[in-house]
Amino acid sequence: MKKLLFALTAALGVALAAQASAADKVKACFVYVGAHNDGGYSEAHEKGRLYLQKELGDKVETQYVENVAEGPDSARVLTQLAQSGCNIIFATSFGYMDSVIKVAKQFPNVKFEHATGFKIAPNVTTYNARFYEGRYILGRIAAKMSKVHEVGYVASFPIPEVVMGINSFMLGAQSIDPNFKIKIIWVNSWFDPGKEADAAKTLFDQGVDIIAQHTDSPAPLQIAEKRGKLGFGQSSDMIKFAPHAQLTSILDNWGPYYVERVKALLDGTWKSQQSWEGLKQKVLLMAPYTNMPADVKQMAEATQKKIEDGFNPFTGPIDRQDGSVWLKKGEVAKDSTLLGMNFYIKGVDSQLPK
């Protein structure tokens, strides 16, 4: 029985290899953690898939599986996709990481692309976006727009991605107003409209006039709209929820990356890598700059241009919260430091939960 299985797998492997080397057509498969139309994270990947299909036409066949839970169940879905003839599989959520590595070993001829993870293999690539670049622009806008020189920040979990976002936001704000302050509320959830709304209300009650968020629902912006205050959207354009409050929003844009990787597979140039691209490669975009005077809008656009031209917000001199030197003048932060960031920069007053 075992022998038979082995023979079958080998035959399948040969068949797949033959298919891959021909490479005039590729089957690209996508695994989503939420629904394809969840209005946020998974929908952004779905838009990327549609863009890929449109750009490459009949050179690519695409398929997606939605609502796949993170953890062991994802291995089943990945195996099934690999067996059904997918040449490249985009696993779009962090929690698929171990399943991807496990399944990738069994299917060496299938390419795997894992979003936001950090484990790679000869046929596994990771990809992520430099969201902190967008947050730097938000910080600069906030410093220009706030009358009380303080922002309220609704944060999810104290992980490097979020801490990096807060630091980048504050670097942007400090570049305009060195004494700019921040009030942070951790809601310990990515998505709980009620809690996010409560946090936003509390921040406004305590006197801030602008809020930023690193949680996923439009609830904080709705509170801003109701109170006649300002805020920033997250992941998608939330202007419908806050036509008078949203200043801009950081948007995920995976389409160009998907096209690039599938093209590489078609050309036979696909290699394992750790991709972390940003505004320059248009992996993230900014929603239209609204509800601000023309000069602030100009400033925001200029900042965006500067980052697209290669400026890294994490360029020294930058001190840590305790006053010790982190980056000397002109020194640029290493990606590995950013991806493991567990400290605040100077000017953030609150304590980082550990």
Binding site: K183, T202, Q222, K240, S350, P353
Partner: protein, 307 residues
């Protein structure tokens, strides 16, 4: 400072209202002897139906009525399974929650990302102009007023009417109640549906007042907190009200502490409301006589009438 305290209290009230509504409804069901763990499911179905109802009609009030009706109808499924078919209440309640979460996601699929129609505050003429108290109590949305009236009404019904006494005696001893000629199953059906209607209204509060939007799983565990509050309040409406507001106050207080930069780990502050609940539950259960006096003796037990 006064402004901050007042604003915080208002935030607490909005946060406590859905808990209060759902818990009061569940209290009535449990007093009749039925343990319905499906509060979360009924709440989320109420939320999505209320949202769609408001979109369809253009009025948040019609939406709220949709939510109430949906909660009641949904709870009817539970009542039929557990009362008529005598299925296990715990298992059925849990599946009602799971079903509700899935069903609401499916129904609301096309409404994600649509701004909701908000139910605005209604100032009560005369009373609303009293300084401080007017702002605090008489400038709310209609669902808030309903939640307070509901507590008063349920208290009056349970402890000051004949029908309420019947309901409680059915919950305490359904065999004797049946022998005395009381319609055990009919009363339980009505009590469960009342609980469903209240949970539906709690859901409507979420999608029309608290955060006027629809997103999958937007109840985020509030149904379970409501269930805990019923025990917390030892099956008495006024204590449930105190519990709900205490829970809201601790949650919002923790946020305030964070924003003030109090050096306490946010994870600890986030767990405070739950810790407080556990502590109170422990304190209550210390007093066995009091617990026994208030716990419906037939809670969760099936009843098959002998003909």
């Amino acid at each position: 400072m006064t402004h901050l305290i007042l604003a915080t209290l208002l935030t607490v009230m909005t946060a406590a209202t859905p808990l209060l509504l759902a818990a009061t409804g569940e209290l009535v069901a449990e007093r009749s002897g039925v343990l319905n763990l499906g509060v979360e499911g009924m709440m989320v179905v109420g939320a999505v139906t209320a949202f769609i109802g408001a979109q369809w009609s253009g009025s948040p009030y019609v939406g709220a009525l949709f939510g109430i009706a949906a909660g009641a109808v949904f709870s009817l499924a539970f009542a039929f399974l557990t009362l008529t078919l005598v299925a296990n209440q715990v298992a059925t309640g849990l599946s009602l929650t799971i079903l509700g979460l899935g069903l609401s996601g499916m129904i609301g699929n096309g409404y994600v990302g649509t701004p909701g129609i908000e139910m605005n505050a209604v100032a009560i003429p005369g009373l609303a102009d009293i300084p401080v108290i007017g702002t605090l109590l008489f400038r709310h949305d209609v669902i808030f007023y309903v939640s307070i009236l509901l507590v008063v009404g349920v208290h009056w019904f349970l402890f000051h009417t004949r029908a309420g006494l019947q309901l409680r005696s059915i919950g305490d001893n359904h065999v004797s109640a049946h022998a005395l000629g009381m319609p055990v199953l009919r009363v339980r059906y009505l009590a469960v549906m009342f609980g469903g209607a209240c949970a539906g209204l709690a859901g409507a509060q979420l999608s029309l007042v608290y955060t006027p939007q629809w997103t999958e799983n937007m109840t985020a565990g509030r149904g379970w907190i409501a269930l805990a509050l019923v025990v917390f309040g030892s099956w008495r409406p006024v204590r449930v009200l105190i519990g709900a507001y205490l829970f809201g106050a601790v949650s919002i207080g923790a946020f305030n502490a964070q924003a003030f930069g109090v050096a306490i780990p946010s994870q600890f502050l986030s767990s405070l409301p739950y810790l407080a609940t556990v502590v109170v539950l422990v304190l209550i259960s210390q007093n066995r006589r009091l617990t026994l006096m208030n716990t419906p003796a037939c809670l969760g037990r099936p009843f098959v009438p002998d003909r």
